[in-house]
């Protein structure tokens, strides 16, 4: 329970740092950190396969994609960085206050009524669920992957002209 709370605090702190930091590259590192903490929480929620996916794909692959995209943008000068820092502070000073207020309010007032949960009636092996129960999802995933591939190909084809 205490470890879960520490992890959840770390998750929100990492997310806030991701959103508030000025340099894009640090934001990407913060996002990877958020994913890694989320993967630990997933593991503690008895979902190891999803945790492995989160760690490898969201913490690894998405970071690589973002870093590649960021590497094409221009690095800003120190004077511009100072100006940007002031602008960001003016935009984001409200976020920590909102989060602390909302957190304290919800901790005191958010109470979900007790509910009875029925026991699962089918197999609990995730591989069986994916292949037998949710096999239509796999077709959807393949279609989405192809759509993504074609989208990227079209985008970069346009760039070559």
């Amino acid at each position: 329970m205490a470890l879960n709370l520490i992890l959840l605090f770390g998750l929100v702190l990492a997310a806030v740092w991701t959103v508030m930091t000025i340099r894009l590259i640090r934001a990407v590192v913060g996002l990877a950190l958020t994913s890694a903490i989320l993967a630990v929480i997933m593991y503690r929620l008895n979902s190891p396969l999803a945790a492995v996916f989160e760690l490898s794909v969201c913490s690894g692959l998405i970071s690589v994609i973002f870093i590649t995209t960021v590497s094409f943008t221009q690095r800003i000068s120190k004077e511009r960085l100072l100006v940007r820092r002031r602008e960001r502070l003016a935009k984001f000073w409200l976020l920590p206050i909102i989060l602390v207020t909302a957190g304290l309010f919800l901790m005191q007032h958010l109470k979900i009524p007790d509910f009875v949960v029925s026991a699962p009636s089918y197999s609990q092996d995730v591989r069986e669920v994916i292949w037998n129960l949710r096999h239509l999802d796999l077709f959807g995933q393949i279609l989405v992957l192809f759509a993504g591939i074609f989208g990227v190909v079209i985008l970069f084809k346009e760039q070559d002209k």
Partner: protein
């Protein structure tokens, strides 16, 4: 593994809502395509945690994991295509500020 309880659902839910607020605030305030994507990522993480938590409370973690894996696959495709669009926008307009992307303006 300890028995899941409704009180556990309560305090997880508080942090999930805080993650939602962070993501939405980032999308609303930032005028940068990559930052908007990062905000979207934070939102997706909150949804992922909510789905897994629901599966854990109900004792159907396998089903929740299957749905989360689908979500992660869709997330990666969205990020790749959106990253490509941000790159394309920077290439042609030398900016990733959506206010200055006026190519499609009617």
């Amino acid at each position: 593994m300890s028995v899941p309880s409704v009180s556990m659902f309560n305090y997880f839910l508080v942090f999930i809502i805080l993650l939602f607020i962070t993501g939405i605030y980032c999308i609303l305030v930032s005028f940068n395509l990559i930052r908007a994507l990062i905000g979207l990522e934070v939102l997706i993480k909150a949804v992922t945690l909510l789905i897994l938590l629901a599966g854990y409370i109900c004792g159907r973690t396998a089903l929740a994991q299957a749905i989360v894996i689908t979500l992660i696959v869709i997330e990666i495709v969205v990020m790749v295509v959106a990253g490509g669009i941000a790159f394309w926008a920077f290439r042609y307009n030398k900016t990733i500020d959506p206010r200055r992307l006026s190519n499609l303006k009617g």
